[in-house]
Amino acid sequence: MELSVLGQNDAGHHSAGGCSSGSCGSTDDQLSHLPDHIREKVHNHPCYSEEAHHYFARMHVAVAPACNIQCHYCNRKYDCANESRPGVVSELLHPDQAVKKVKAVAATIPQMTVLGIAGPGDPLANPERTFETFRQLSEQAPDIKLCVSTNGLALPDCVDELAKHNIDHVTITINCVDPEVGAKIYPWIYWNNKRIRGVKAAKILIERQQKGLEMLVERGILVKVNSVLIPGVNDEHLKEVSRIVKAKGAFLHNVMPLIAEAEHGTFYGVMGQRSPEPEELQDLQDACAGDMNMMRHCRQCRADAVGLLGEDRGDEFTMDKIEEMDIDYEAAMVKRAVIHAAIKEELDEKAAKKARLAGMKAPQLGDEALGKGYRPVLMAVATSGGGLINQHYGHATEFLVYEASPSGVRFIGHRKVEQFCVGNDTCGEKESALSGGVRALKGCETVLCSKIGYEPWGLLEAAGIQPNGEHAMEPIEEAVMAVYQEMIAAGRLDQDQTALRANA
């Protein structure tokens, strides 16, 4: 497919995935090929820019409880404070409360640049609550970017209102473009005052999503498309989805793994539909990447999440705590501007450094090494932000996974350390965090962290994963490349070229 909108770089440079340059570390490098006006819009948006998500934080406010469709991966009854996934919230807010909360968070966490409304239902099925929140925020907190995510059914009716509130980022969840596939994902929709089921329902939903996408693009509003990868249902089909949404002008595609556990009470969970393995997700993202900018750093956060991606500081901002805070937002905005400028400066420096390194990194391996075609290696990294290896292994609730290969380093995705709910006895069994960490790192050969304890070290080694604390406080991508070069020098990549992926 010709790339009329995104102007992505020459496809000939692409290797296995979306990586476009020798030093490619992430989807962010792909963003760097976007037109300036789009880059300007996303440079500080943690959900759209992989680079930004190390520095900037986001929050969601749960003002939109109603939904107009049912998805087979969602259960509207579910609410557990220990779960982190879309559609789940602990405290529903009225618009006035939401505005208060946003200002309190923005004053306390100045890195918070983005406010999203994502549920717990569909924001555009709650137009009054959603737009009242946006209206107040655009007046009272003009330094915060506003965005919204939707299933798309009500989207065409809301596009003008979205444009009016200066919302320049919209996420549409599009799981299919074929109603037959859709009928396996959506049991019903509420449309024109009727509950409609099956293929007919899916056809209406798909038409509305596509129309909404076109209308947003016409108005210059940035559109990201989210898709849930459901093995055996839409896995192959998502390649077509990716091609179509790109052709229509979506600028980023985020394929997320299905979350399905029987204890969530969802159709897929109860019926035993499996979730994809990390490798399946990566392969599909790579397959789509030839056509589309892929997002790989999504954490599938809750509809009331607060903080950097991967962290949730929602507990600090419950309504009873917010009521007691005295927020001077004018003063907060001044402080925020200073901090945003400092982060931007740091990012610019980093980008300049990256550009300098880009020309030298691959050759560092030597032509001989390149010629040998060393296999790629997956490495896990423990980081608490800032793009550095700066987290203790035992403190990591998730790891970032990078792939090192002769052509450079690229970001693959994140792995959560499964933390089992201890809230009540229906939430599944507890499990030691130690073995959970090892399991999360399946397929990785090394884990880089600032420090690591004796016990996990042994467990990791026994599982064939080499712990490495020698690159503490170093920039992630440089450290990953250094370790890869050490592995080559030690002859570890000479032997078995395919063992790892096969075992994974």
């Binding site: 049912q70 529903l92 709650n126 005052n193 969970g269 069994e429």
Partner: protein, 92 residues
């Protein structure tokens, strides 16, 4: 004649927004229907609106006391399969 909301309601507001008679109101522990105002949408729509958008099986009762959306009708999960899954989870 009126519909009734019962305790399995999750307070999602969907019904409030679509009721043509403004018969549904916020209440604790869950939303309620004012029986004097509820018309069962008779003159307005072919389908009872609250029952058509409600995502929770059994949360809205018809005038005869039967669920507007019986078990399995919205999620597509056969009730016996759900029972089985719940038994399995509880036995862990």
């Amino acid at each position: 004649m009126a519909l009734k909301i019962v305790e399995s309601c999750v307070n999602c507001w969907a019904c409030v927004d679509v009721c043509p008679s403004e018969a549904i109101y916020e209440s604790s522990p869950h939303f309620k229907i004012n029986a004097h105002k509820c018309t069962e949408c008779e003159d307005d729509y072919a389908e009872k609106q609250c029952a058509s958008i409600c995502p929770i099986e059994g949360a809205i009762l018809l005038a005869d006391g039967s669920p507007a959306n019986p078990p399995g009708s919205l999620t597509g999960i056969p009730p016996e399969r759900l029972d089985e899954a719940m038994r399995e989870i509880q036995a862990r």
